[in-house]
Symmetry: C2
Subunit: 266 residues, 2 copies
DNA sequence: CGCGGCGTTGAACCCACTCAAGAGCTGTGG
DNA sequence: CCACAGCTCTTGAGTGGGTTCAACGCCGCG
């Protein structure tokens, strides 16, 4: 998923975003807010402000929302860190990971531009997962306290926030069902089709993209091993459904892939 | 998990709840509200009102919250139904299920008293899952629109609602990690210990309970088969960790069970 | 150039699934 | 009251998909 290729509004280095007026260091974001950070954001159509009326949008604009650059491999927050902010992805891809007692890492989700990360920290006040950039990326830093205050006045905004949390729940449930009820090759097919769908929704090419994650990361997410992911991709290529060259993916026959995991029994 | 046994406040047929003033038929709930339905509810300590200040609690009390009896095996809502209400469990156990394309049923969660069900319906306005009672049960019917209105005034209440949604997210992530990274026997151990913990939190006996779900349902939840669940339980019994007689479970050595799934490698 | 990370492919093993049979409990209807 | 049907649970045996272990090629980078 090379988010800077394909039919994006702008394919230059800034990813179509407005020039950064204020920039975050790697520490906590500065207090001064960027005014209306959403207007020029290519991800806004799938983010918090999507579909909000003027009043709610203005309300959102009053929050002190900072932007923060995140370099590839760096974390925006780590497990057990104090929860203060939600983060909206402007560009780049993130992974959420959970460290098990055994020390192994489980990927619980991949986050594309427009996704809001961090809802699972609301119960405990600490982040139960680590969010790490798979490529150079940028996020909006949403102060949770201010956001709930803002919601208090604006019902639509509140419902929008709840919807974002609910959407993640829904995705988790489907992922769970997928992992439990399908063979590993079907999961890889579902992963490719799901990714393609999400990219199309965001205005990227649904058939040509660059994976930003390793085979091991895909395997972790899908509950299988890197070898099995690799074998599955090779099998699809052999059958003519896709072409693969390292991270470059081209979906030749999406419908065949879709049929692959919708098949009743295999 | 016989929720009426053990150290519950009241062990009579009403489960310690206040007598039902108004009772639901199987259809949608009546509009007239029960005043302060929480005060006498044994689940309130782990439900929405937990930890709320007076003002927020009074605010919650102004909602028209109906109670609804649900007979064993009946659904409070079904997949694809219109989303109007969240449901708080007063007593009884529920399962949430997802029907896959293949027609198979995947259990995504078990809900104990105090849990609030239905957050995953917020994105689409329709319920993506079915919620079904595993025993005769009762829920509070929370009108979603009224609830968001109420939240708009009361920040603590809003945060409480978000916390409930976040908690479900967190549980899902842990379940996912569990299913992917452990052997089936470890999952069954984790299931027993997790259930025990949740029961203790709610004031029930953590070591003696009656499972309200079948082996097949446990298997669906844990991503394994009913035979494997049965074999695991037998194995634990053989090793002296538990005793089992059909649905009656007695945990003899909880620490041994806990060690079972915390083991680094097996 | 050489090293390290990533990806591919092969071979062997094993855990859990599938299939099957039987026992125990529950509810129902004659 | 008993017979029977249906469901749940247990246990056994065989099989296979996917994991593990291993070797090698490719690519980027210092």
């Amino acid at each position: 998923m090379d988010l800077r290729s394909a039919n994006t509004p702008a394919a230059d280095g800034t990813c179509g975003c407005a020039p950064l007026r204020q920039l975050a260091t790697d520490g906590p974001p500065p207090g001064s807010g960027a005014t209306a950070p959403c207007v020029a954001c290519p991800a806004s159509r799938h983010c918090l402000p999507a579909g909000l009326g003027d009043r709610d949008a203005r309300c959102l604009g009053r929050l002190t929302i900072a932007r923060r650059r995140v370099r590839k491999g760096h974390a925006i927050f780590r497990e057990n860190e104090h929860f203060l902010f939600l983060y909206a992805v402007r560009f780049g891809i993130f992974k959420s990971t959970l460290t098990l007692d055994a020390g192994a890492e489980q990927i619980t989700g991949f986050h594309l531009p427009g996704d809001v990360i961090g809802f699972d920290a609301t119960p405990s006040g600490r982040h139960p997962t680590t969010a790490r950039a798979l490529e150079d990326a940028e996020v909006c830093v949403l102060p949770y306290g201010q956001l709930t205050d803002a919601c208090a006045g604006q019902r639509d905004l509140l419902m929008r926030v709840l919807r974002l949390a609910g959407a993640e729940l829904e995705r988790d449930h489907r992922l769970l069902a997928l992992i439990v009820h399908t063979h590993s090759e079907q999961r890889v097919a579902a992963f490719l089709v799901g990714l393609s769908d999400r990219l199309r929704e965001r205005g990227f090419s649904p058939s040509d993209f660059l994976l930003r994650m390793t085979r091991a990361e895909i395997g972790s997410y899908l509950g299988t091993t890197l070898e099995t992911v690799s074998r599955s991709l090779s099998a699809f290529a052999r059958r003519g459904f896709i072409t693969v060259h390292r991270r470059e993916i081209h979906l030749v026959n999406i419908e065949a892939l879709r049929a692959e995991f919708e098949a009743k029994d295999v």
